[in-house]
Amino acid sequence: MSLQEQSNQSQFCDRRTHLSRRTLLGAGGGGILMSSIARRLAWADEQGVTDPARPKSVILLWLGGGPSQLETFDPHPGGVYGGDTSAIPTSVNGLQISDLLPQTAEQMHLTSLVRSVTSKEGDHERAVYNIKTGYRPDPTLKHPSVGAVLCHADQAGADIPRHISIVPNGSPGRGGYLGAAYDAFKIYDPAQPVPDIRRSVPESRFDQRVADLFDVVESEFQRGRLRHLESKRTLHQTATDAALRMMSSQQLDAFDVSSESKEVRDSFGDSAFGRGALAASRLVEVGARCVEVTLGGWDSHITNHSLQSSACGKLDPALSALLRRLEERDLLDSTLVICGGEFGRTPRINPAEGRDHWPHGFSALFAGCGIRRGGIHGATAAKPTLDPENPMADITDAVSVGDLHATILSALGVDYEEELETPIGRPMKRCEGKPIEAILDV
């Protein structure tokens, strides 16, 4: 089966689904009374129960704009480049992080910290692409983001989309060459309802519309055209069925954080990002494969400390509460939490008291899903030479963006070296790089 065909079919249904639906259709065929809507609802009911043996999941806390490693996970206070940030001890012996993340410091024993990520992209747009896909931008090919790769690697179903981006801020995970079917489903502040999920007319009228659409208009469109037009090409009814299932699915409740107690909601912080992190923990429980939650406001070319402090004020409760909740609910073993942005920020503080873009040594945090607890990998120099000809001189145990992706896929049990085939037949590895063994539990 070609990638395109696989992409077309797998997102919505599997063979069992088709079989049972046809069975229903056959049963309905004997009696004209069974309308297409009834057939769809019967099919949705059959699909209602989610397989309890769900695959492992990823929650990506995306810090858009470039968080400063010096104000978050890799402070070097006191030196010429340390700025106004202090370092505080954490729940891991010998590990200190920024004083802007006091709650997170208490949960660091659940995580591994990588302080030596390097890339070759210092422009936001290109760097976001680089970090989210594991590949540098290439005019010949659009690579899939890690969420799309994971959904493609494991096709287990759920009523709701399995790749979700909360508060996407213009850079949601994309399906790339795997196809738009793997694009992240976008929602905004979970305080608001999921977009476009509610009918704008009463249910009976809506059902009549859908019935007329398929029984009259779609059947006319198929007449005299390509054989198996629906199943081989348009997938219009298949996608509509999936959307209808989602509209009536109980799993939708996972998006609704208002059902959580005030205490729980408060622990994540009163922000869209905090609510997003809470929603993410609920979504992975009902079968979402990859949920990314974006927190912007890190691009601190001026007044760095003030901007980073403000962003950390939202990150700290959300990240710490998320780790705590997953651990308490026994979900951390099957959920990989990643926290980071497209690059770090310069050690040197500019005349506007800001820090600029810095891809030569920044931090990423990992937790869960077989990631070593309390691990630390790599380091940046407390007194960097900042030699423009050799920026790597200030980094110990540097890791590449490809290494991050190999680590993620490896933790999720996906063969990171396997080659996929792009639509034009070009072989392409899932990622370039090797897992960071130092942070993986053997």
């Binding site: 422009d123 290109r126 290439d138 010949t140 476009d196 005299g224 055209r225 390509l226 996608a239 509209m247």
Partner: protein, 565 residues
């Protein structure tokens, strides 16, 4: 002096104010509503209708008839060789819808259909095409599509890159019907500031990946794909050991080498950034360490094939431009034809739009059209006319015989192609209006169209510069179409702005209402079965207005609207 009472003065002031508000409102909504005569199809003012239907003065130059006949001969011969039957020609409305989708990015308005119906049927397709070629919507829509080929969709570095200016410059190129070879030369040799000389942005779009100067690697990759119709990107890192890139021809194949790519890239190292003067021409200055070499090599500028066509003297980029646009460089003309063909059909003639291997079979139509393009002065509009008049473009997408993918691949039937997000947005917005939505529309309508389109495309999923990937449909798209705010606003009763209300108010009867909605959304008349069904729906409904809204919703949610056929 007569003194008016205060009350009179106040009344006068308020009257002036009310008049001003009324005039402003009138100005803003001007052009929103079609006349009843047009809606009902009765042309009481044939001159007014004819203003949009009279053929533009024919600027075709030499007749395209003989060229189209050659293309049709190739088409028929290929089908005969493959043993494939072909479908009958599609009706004029279907062909006109294809033309509108290709050239302005949405279907026909009811206003356009009614105007075309006033003239002889055999002339309708040609008249519609000529109208579209003169339409600003065409210039701007193609400018956006070509911008995606030429510079992609990324924002780049704002300090040195203005994509919007570049797009507007392209719109002016299409409006003036500038020669294609001239446009290419301007892009490849552009000098100056990106704000002052918009074509310079072709070069400065790559500044973000090369520390504020032109990136020769990206420019070489872009040039080879867009202007040469070859994907030689893999040669950047290694020779072609997989046999994917041949730079000879069918008789004398030659394996692509790393040198081929980097010699092409070397031309662009002459584009120097010179402070406030922007991009200026300098000398080639490029060295590269080839795979397995110990040291870097000084790379001289060179072309990957037909070196005899490269001028020996001149500025580096001017030499490259002269080579690319040389009349004997048919491969470069094929690249242009491939892009225009893909824009017309929504899919490429072969496997990909930007990879036409030198040593592989391509459809004979390609060479015929490319040679015609060169022979007639790289005239883009003539190229569009030739393709639009070909049997391949005009053939139906349905037939009496069973259609297989082979029929589509060989254009024995018109291929079914999913519309791009902006085409879907444009089509549903246009379908919900009676009048043509263009730059003559009211300010309010234009604003609503622009913001509605942008929001919709963002939600629907912009495919970026992957122009001709027939991506699969997504749950998000179906939710957006079924329940999204744009659809809701377009479908729900709104006496000023949409088809539902206009039809409800002005249709003679239910049958006429159904017919009007079908023409607006699908650009075709309903079949008898469809008509009977939906007339019954309206007649049996307690609220006929709601039944018409339902019909509009159904058609806007269909495959037929979302696919080119």
């Amino acid at each position: 002096m007569i003194r008016l009472p205060k009350v009179a003065i106040a009344s006068l002031r308020w009257s002036w104010f009310a008049l001003l508000v009324l005039l402003t409102f009138g100005y803003l909504v001007a052009g929103l509503s079609g006349s009843r005569q047009r809606l009902t199809g009765v042309a009481s003012d044939s001159k007014a209708v004819a203003s949009k239907s009279v053929p533009i003065v024919n600027k075709n130059g030499p007749s395209i008839l003989s060229s189209v006949q050659k293309v049709n001969t190739d088409w028929n011969q290929t089908l005969a060789n493959q043993g494939l039957d072909h479908a009958n020609p599609a009706n004029w409305l279907t062909v006109c819808r294809r033309l509108s989708l290709a050239l302005v990015g949405n279907g026909l308005s009811l206003e356009e259909i009614r105007a075309l119906e006033q003239i002889q049927e055999s002339k309708r397709e040609r008249v519609h095409l000529e109208n579209l070629l003169q339409d600003q919507r065409f210039h701007h829509y193609w400018a956006e599509r070509w911008s995606r080929f030429l510079v992609g969709t990324d924002g780049g570095q704002f300090i040195a890159y203005r994509r919007r200016r570049f797009r507007i410059w392209l719109a002016e190129v299409f409006a003036a019907n500038e020669r294609y070879d001239r446009m290419v030369r301007e892009l490849l040799t552009a000098e100056g500031l990106w704000t002052d000389k918009p074509q310079v942005n072709f070069v400065t779009a790559t500044f973000d990946s090369n520390d504020g100067s032109a990136d020769p690697i990206r420019l070489a990759a872009r040039t080879s794909r867009v202007f040469l119709g070859l994907r030689i990107d893999c040669l950047q890192c290694h020779n072609d050991f997989l046999g994917n890139v041949n730079l000879g021809d069918e008789q004398e194949p030659r394996e692509g080498m790393q040198q081929d790519f980097h010699e092409l890239a070397a031309f662009f190292t002459s584009a120097k950034t010179n402070g406030l003067q922007g991009v200026r021409d300098g000398v080639v200055d490029y060295s590269y360490k080839y795979l397995n070499d110990e040291q870097e090599t000084d790379v001289q500028a060179g072309v990957p094939f037909l070196p005899e066509l490269l001028p020996e003297k001149g500025k580096p980029r001017a030499r490259l431009a002269a080579w690319v646009t040389h009349p004997e460089n048919i491969q470069a003309a094929r690249a242009a034809v491939s892009h225009v063909w893909a824009l017309m059909f929504g899919r490429s003639m072969g496997e990909t739009v930007d990879n036409l291997p030198l040593d592989e079979f391509s459809h004979p139509m390609m060479d015929t059209i490319a040679r015609d393009f060169v022979a007639h002065g790289f005239n883009m509009r003539r190229l569009i006319r030739v393709i639009a008049a070909s049997e391949a473009f005009r053939v139906d997408s349905r037939s009496e015989f069973e259609i297989t993918p082979e029929h589509e691949l060989n254009f024995a039937v018109f291929p079914l192609v999913r519309l791009r997000p902006e085409q879907v947005a444009g089509s549903i917005i246009q379908a919900a209006r009676i009048k043509t939505t263009d730059r003559d529309s009211s300010f309010v309508l234009q604003l609503q169209t622009m913001t509605g389109t942008n929001d919709f495309v963002t939600q629907y999923g912009d495919v970026g510069e992957d122009e001709f990937n027939s991506d699969s449909i997504t749950i998000t798209q179906r939710l957006l179409m079924m329940n999204g705010s744009l659809l809701r606003e377009l479908v729900e009763a709104n006496p000023i702005l949409n088809t539902s209300s206009h039809v409800g108010m002005f249709a003679r009867d239910s049958a006429h209402a159904v017919e009007t909605v079908y023409l607006s959304a699908f650009n075709r008349y309903p079949t008898p079965a469809e008509k009977k069904h939906f007339v019954s729906r309206i007649d049996c409904s307690e609220d006929s207005g709601k039944a018409i809204e339902d019909l509009v919703w159904i058609l806007l949610n269909s495959s037929e609207l979302a696919w080119n056929h």
